[in-house]
């Protein structure tokens, strides 16, 4: 049943989440800089230092600290509520909640990532289809090279180059971006989308090529259907399944790619926050942000997995046949898949 499929997936999520938080916590644990020292400053007396360590729960055993990390530690200074309740600790620098800053900046990043993904899909997929319909032609070779270029360019460099050309030289787009000004979002979206665009171009092409070789395409042609119908109705629906899954996964990659571009455009997203934190060695902020992104990444992957199960009728094989016609009508209207 569909429910079983989903619940199985969600269950597999838990160990991964535990693992990620454990990893982040371990990294925090072995960080050379000492949180107590950071709080007190360099001139604290040994007694005050020991007291602070006790207050923060730093003298407890490793696993107990991890437990506190997740579920909170009442006796900690400032009262730490724990990761499960959304508390990722406090920044060394601002002393505000790490999570607060993440929460306020994340929507901006999500906006940028969504725009970049849409751009990547709307340009990458059609070009991939075009390349597939004329394989090994000049156009195909041209776009293959463009795609490889796109996958090889360092994103942060592209950001700077684009700023140089479009902002400094031509003055078309502003160098600094702001989520409220759409015009200023174009350059960062383009920069961010390049990598995903290249990947989608190539994957669409190879997926389409693979589908076009299949016997059922030959059957469709033998039935006398127009070539356009063969491509759109018969080929695309099959080819799009892996493409959609990849596009979904790309969203996660774009979120992490934000760290590469946002600072350069002075865009107030989670990437900028992270880069700022790196510059000042604010470890809780860095690791907290990474933890957050990792969790989001895992959730996005889970959603993509579930969606994949929804759009492919072959995954739902375990269902009784003659009944549930309505659900099959639904799936009729959606795209389908080949195994990744």
């Amino acid at each position: 049943m569909m429910l079983r499929y989903i619940s199985k997936r969600i269950l597999m999520l838990v160990p991964v989440l535990v693992g990620v938080t454990f990893l982040v916590f371990s990294l925090m644990y072995i960080t050379p800089s000492d949180p107590a020292q950071m709080m007190l400053g360099a001139n604290a007396s040994p007694a005050a230092y020991a007291q602070m360590r006790n207050d923060m729960g730093l003298d407890k055993p490793f696993l107990l600290q991890y437990f506190h990390f997740l579920f909170g530690y009442k006796h900690a200074i400032f009262g730490y509520k724990g990761l499960v309740f959304g508390d990722l600790g406090r920044s060394y620098i601002t002393n505000r909640y790490v999570f607060e800053l993440i929460l306020s900046s994340f929507p901006n990043t999500a906006l940028l990532a969504t725009g970049a993904l849409l751009m990547a899909i709307m340009i990458g997929v059609p070009i991939g289809i075009l390349s597939a319909t004329m394989p090994y032609s000049f156009i195909d070779m041209f776009f293959t090279i463009i795609a490889l270029l796109g996958a090889s360019m360092p994103t942060f460099w592209v950001a700077m180059v684009l700023i140089y050309f479009f902002a400094n030289k031509l003055g078309i787009f502003p160098a600094m971006s702001d989520p409220r000004d759409f015009n200023s979002l174009i350059l960062p979206m383009v920069t961010l989308s390049l990598n995903s665009m290249a990947i989608l171009m190539r994957m669409t092409r190879s997926s389409m090529l693979e589908v076009m070789e299949q016997d059922y395409i030959r059957t469709a042609r033998v039935k006398g259907l127009d070539e356009s119908v063969v491509i759109t109705k018969h080929a695309l629906r099959n080819a799009l399944i892996p493409i959609i899954t990849i596009a979904g996964l790309q969203f996660g990659a774009l979120l992490s790619g934000a760290v590469l571009t946002e600072k350069i455009f002075a865009y107030p997203g989670i990437g900028s926050i992270m880069v700022d934190a790196i510059y000042v060695k604010d470890t809780p902020q860095i690791l907290g942000s990474i933890c957050f992104i990792a969790i989001i990444f895992t959730l996005v992957n889970l959603l993509v997995d579930i969606m994949y199960g929804l759009i492919d009728p072959r995954v739902k094989e375990t269902r009784p046949k003659a009944k549930n016609l309505k659900k099959k009508e639904l799936s009729n209207a959606l795209a389908q898949q080949i195994r990744k």
């Binding site: 160990p15 990893l23 360092p154 790196i278 690791l287 895992t298």
Partner: protein
């Protein structure tokens, strides 16, 4: 002179087979002109990186020469170096400290190559061994290793590298460790998948064979199976390692100036883009071309090694 015994015969046969396979592979690969060009390019870059000192000495590219700041590509300037006055032509211009950009790029290339190869080698070994254990033993150790892999893969590569370097501190070794760890999971998967296929396949045959020779057969088959995807994955990973390194250095988490590295050259150039664009383009294009060469080569390798290819 005695006749070769059985294991020697097997080795000879295997060698002949390998050289024949290699010859066939080379024919397919060389037909892809783009890939062959990239292979040559990669070799050339590697050679230049190894013999960097022949072109520019390390001290020369790390010494400041402020009078020559921002010289455009092709211009010349006087450099006071090691008590000598040299009239030096800056082929790619000078950076904000008056250092020769081309020289720094060459030396930076050395660092990138080094990290790329070493990190990939590390990741391959550790990931490969873990994957082999997971695939061969199965059971709880397999599940454990796969969970670990999933956890590592659930953090995007860049984030993981940043996290590790941020936590452990800024050093060359930590950079290496960070990049290796972020690439290792992919190798675990490849090796494990191959071993699982082979395990079912060879098990029956091995049960009928005698003694130690079947271990060797299994081992040989595994190697044959995994060589192709590992080679392809590795070339692509070297490109990724170079990109990651440059980004980390750009952020100040990897190689710090004055040590030349393409990423930190870009971060130094950042303030002066409008004034001296060549400081921006030179290192960036270096990264671009190198990674592109590895990607093209990896692509060509994949096509040449794939038996299903139609053309």
């Amino acid at each position: 002179m005695r006749l070769p015994n059985r294991s020697e015969n097997n080795a000879i046969r295997a060698l002949k087979r390998t050289s024949h396979n290699f010859y066939q592979f080379w024919r397919r690969f060389s037909r892809n002109k783009l890939a062959t060009i990239s292979l040559i390019f990669v070799l050339v870059i590697a050679l230049i990186a190894i013999f960097a000192d022949l072109f520019y000495s390390y001290d020369f590219v790390t010494a400041n020469s402020l009078e020559n700041s921002f010289l455009k590509p092709g211009e010349s300037g006087i450099v006071y170096f090691q008590d000598k006055e040299i009239n030096h032509k800056f082929i790619l211009g000078a950076d904000n400290y008056g250092r020769d950009i081309l020289g720094r790029i060459i030396h930076g290339g050395r660092v990138s190559m080094l990290i790329g190869f070493v990190a990939v080698a590390f990741a391959l070994t550790s990931g490969g061994i873990l994957g082999a254990i997971a695939g061969y033993k199965g059971g709880w150790i397999d599940t454990l290793i796969m969970r670990l892999t999933d956890i590592l893969l659930s953090i995007p590569m860049i984030m993981l590298s940043i996290a590790i370097v941020a936590a452990l501190g800024n050093s060359f070794i930590n950079l290496l460790v960070a990049i290796s760890i972020s690439m290792a999971p992919r190798y675990v998967r490849i090796v494990r998948a191959s071993i699982i296929t082979i395990k079912d396949y060879e098990y029956i045959e091995a049960a009928r064979c005698i003694g130690a020779s079947d271990m060797r057969i299994v081992f040989q088959h595994i190697l044959i199976n995994i060589t192709a995807p590992i080679i392809v994955q590795s070339t692509l990973n070297i490109g990724a390692a170079i990109l990651n390194t440059s980004f980390l250095s750009f952020l100040g988490l990897g190689i710090l100036p004055p040590k030349p590295e393409w990423g930190n050259m870009l971060s130094e150039a950042r303030e002066f883009i409008q004034y001296a664009p060549h400081t921006l383009f030179a290192p960036g294009i270096a990264i671009l071309l190198t990674v592109l060469a590895y990607n093209l080569m990896g692509d060509g390798l994949r096509d040449a090694l794939d038996p299903k290819l139609k053309r």
